[in-house]
């Protein structure tokens, strides 16, 4: 069967050269970086190399501003809580956008139970944060601004530089979650004005088991992982050396190949979106059109009158790996909070599929996906009572309204007795 991986937003395979770089650190150079004998010293050198590679990827002032954690989630948690607890005496207010990743939103919610407060800045219908809204949300108690570089669901690139200027002007720590962009977009922490920035190498062909947090001297943080004095006392715990070594190399390669990767995925992104919109009726792209405001790797699609999990399963049965922000695929039965934040009609959120491209996808694969997806949409519409009712004029389309009936969502709310969420 075909094997087309279109879920690079969830994770990526490790590069062969990255795996080769990791290999000696499992059985041969297996030391603990805290040890003072040669086994420990050898791996300390390896940590230092990786720190430089990460610093280079994001143009950090110094490798000493790079901290290793266990994953993107831990980096987010450390950035948010570490800054909050360190500045507790200065203030207790955090500004974030409503489309941040759960690792940030849930960290802020945890802090709210401990006496902190927050303001969530709204986004527009394509997921953009307005810098002036961030400014308006600031109070004299604000100690942290959290904004993602690129949204993980809908691919919107945020105006981080402008927000960084506001943060610098007000002297407030500025944290950028670059999990969805690192390795796929140029990142320059200095021109962004970021005091903290996090990312996770398993998203750009590095291994799982390591996350990165950049933090410069202008922002104070306290440790959230208590114990030994690893990472300058900011993250206790035995370092995951093989993963750090591999991740460092993945960062270096990502930096070297960045423009090639961007050009390649942008071409495929256009081909994929053009193919789908030509061949599938009533399909919508969520987030900005391909171009300067959208990352080149992802398409977030809503196909009307059919639900997302069915699409995902049929894609999988045809060898195509995709994700979905539909409520049926989430353990909480809620649609993605990002789709809710951009005000997407619930029926369209239900029909959501996220396709994310990588460096190894080909034009031929994209054509196969388009062709297959046309069949999947047809098949599911053939089973869908909504498609039938739309054909019969009972309900209308949200994407191309004709005025011939009530909306799918109104209809669904009517028959289920209450509005969906």
């Amino acid at each position: 069967m075909r094997n087309v991986f279109l879920d690079h937003q969830s994770t990526t395979p490790v590069l062969p050269e990255v795996f080769d770089a990791m290999k000696p650190y499992f059985m041969e150079a297996f030391g603990n970086a805290s040890s003072l004998h040669k086994h420990g010293l050898r791996v300390r050198d390896a940590l230092a190399v990786a720190r430089k590679q990460f610093a280079a990827l994001i143009n950090a002032e110094s490798p000493e501003d790079i901290f290793f954690t266990s994953d993107g989630t831990e980096s987010s948690n450390l950035a948010v809580k570490g800054v909050a607890y360190a500045n507790q005496k200065k203030g207790n207010h955090i500004v974030l956008s409503e489309t941040e990743h759960p690792s940030i939103i849930a960290s802020v919610e945890f802090l709210e139970k401990q006496g902190f407060t927050s303001t969530k800045v709204k986004v527009d219908r394509e997921g953009r944060i307005k810098p002036e809204d961030v400014r308006a949300a600031l109070t004299d108690k604000t100690i942290l601004i959290c904004v993602h570089h690129v949204n993980h669901d809908i691919g919107t690139i945020q105006p981080v530089q402008a927000i960084g200027k506001i943060a610098a002007e007000k002297g407030i720590a500025f944290y950028v979650d670059a999990e969805a962009s690192a390795g796929w977009l140029p990142i320059d922490v200095q021109s962004m004005g970021a005091n903290l920035l996090s990312f996770s190498p398993h998203r750009f062909y590095g291994p799982k088991g390591v996350g990165v947090l950049y933090r410069n001297r202008k922002a104070r943080i306290v440790s959230m992982m208590h114990g030994g004095v690893q990472e300058g006392g900011r993250r206790a715990g035995t370092e995951n050396i093989p993963a750090i070594v591999g991740a460092g190399l993945a960062a270096q390669i990502a930096q070297e190949e960045l423009s090639v990767r961007i050009a390649h995925t942008a071409t495929l992104q256009n081909r994929l979106w053009n193919g789908l919109r030509e061949k599938v009726e009533y399909i919508k792209l969520n987030g900005p059109e391909p171009g300067p405001e959208r990352i080149s790797t992802t398409l977030n699609l809503s196909t009307e009158f059919i639900e997302g999990e069915g699409q995902l399963l049929l894609c999988d049965m045809n060898g195509i790996a995709v994700a979905s922000g539909s409520s049926c695929v989430s353990k909480s039965l809620k649609i993605s909070h990002v789709l809710a934040a951009i005000g997407l009609d619930h029926a369209l959120a239900q029909g959501n599929i996220i396709m994310s491209l990588g460096k190894d996808n080909t034009a031929e694969e994209v054509d196969y996906v388009v062709e297959t997806f046309v069949k999947i949409a047809d098949r599911l519409r053939g089973m869908s009572p909504m498609w039938d009712e739309f054909q019969r004029g009972v309900i209308d389309s949200v994407i191309k309204p004709t005025g011939r009936g009530k909306s799918f969502s109104d209809h669904a709310a009517h028959i289920s007795g209450k509005a969906a969420h």
């Binding site: 009158f305 999990e309 049965m317 239900q350 053939g382 089973m383 009572p385 028959i415 289920s416 007795g417």
Partner: protein, 139 residues
């Protein structure tokens, strides 16, 4: 390592990939359409009933794999039952016949039960005489 990994068990996947009784019954004797407030799924079941017995059942479903499999299985199970028997139908039958559903997906089988009950209710409204049978059984 084996190369088959599915979210659902084989029976569920089979009913999702090869749904039984998919479609609408023309001039059905009873039609029920219900929606799940929890996730937004919608299910429609239509029945042909003759002499108090379900002769045919069809479904259309907007929903996830387990919603489609649940409606496929539900229609399969109730064909041939009397209206009175069908009124006793419970979602657990669907779950059991499917060999289990993930906990978070149990509500899909509930939706199938509700769609069936809504179709039977529709039938009862159109055929008040059938209520006698029903009472006889539920009493």
């Amino acid at each position: 390592m084996s190369e088959t990994y599915t979210l659902y068990n084989n029976t569920v996947m089979d009913h999702f990939m090869n749904p039984r009784n998919m479609g609408d019954i023309k001039d059905a004797d009873g039609v029920g359409e219900v929606g799940a407030a929890a996730c937004g799924d919608i299910m429609k079941i239509s029945l042909r009933i003759k002499d108090g017995k379900i002769e045919d059942a069809r479904f259309k479903t907007f929903g996830c794999g387990s919603a489609i499999a649940s409606s496929s299985m539900a229609t399969e199970l109730i064909k041939g039952r009397t209206v009175a028997e069908a009124m006793q139908f419970s979602n657990q039958e669907v779950v059991d016949a499917l060999g289990g559903l993930p906990p978070v997906k149990i509500h899909c089988s509930v939706l199938a039960e509700e769609a069936l009950k809504a179709a039977l209710e529709d039938y009862s409204k159109k055929h008040p005489e059938s209520l006698n049978d029903k009472k006889a059984v539920t009493a």
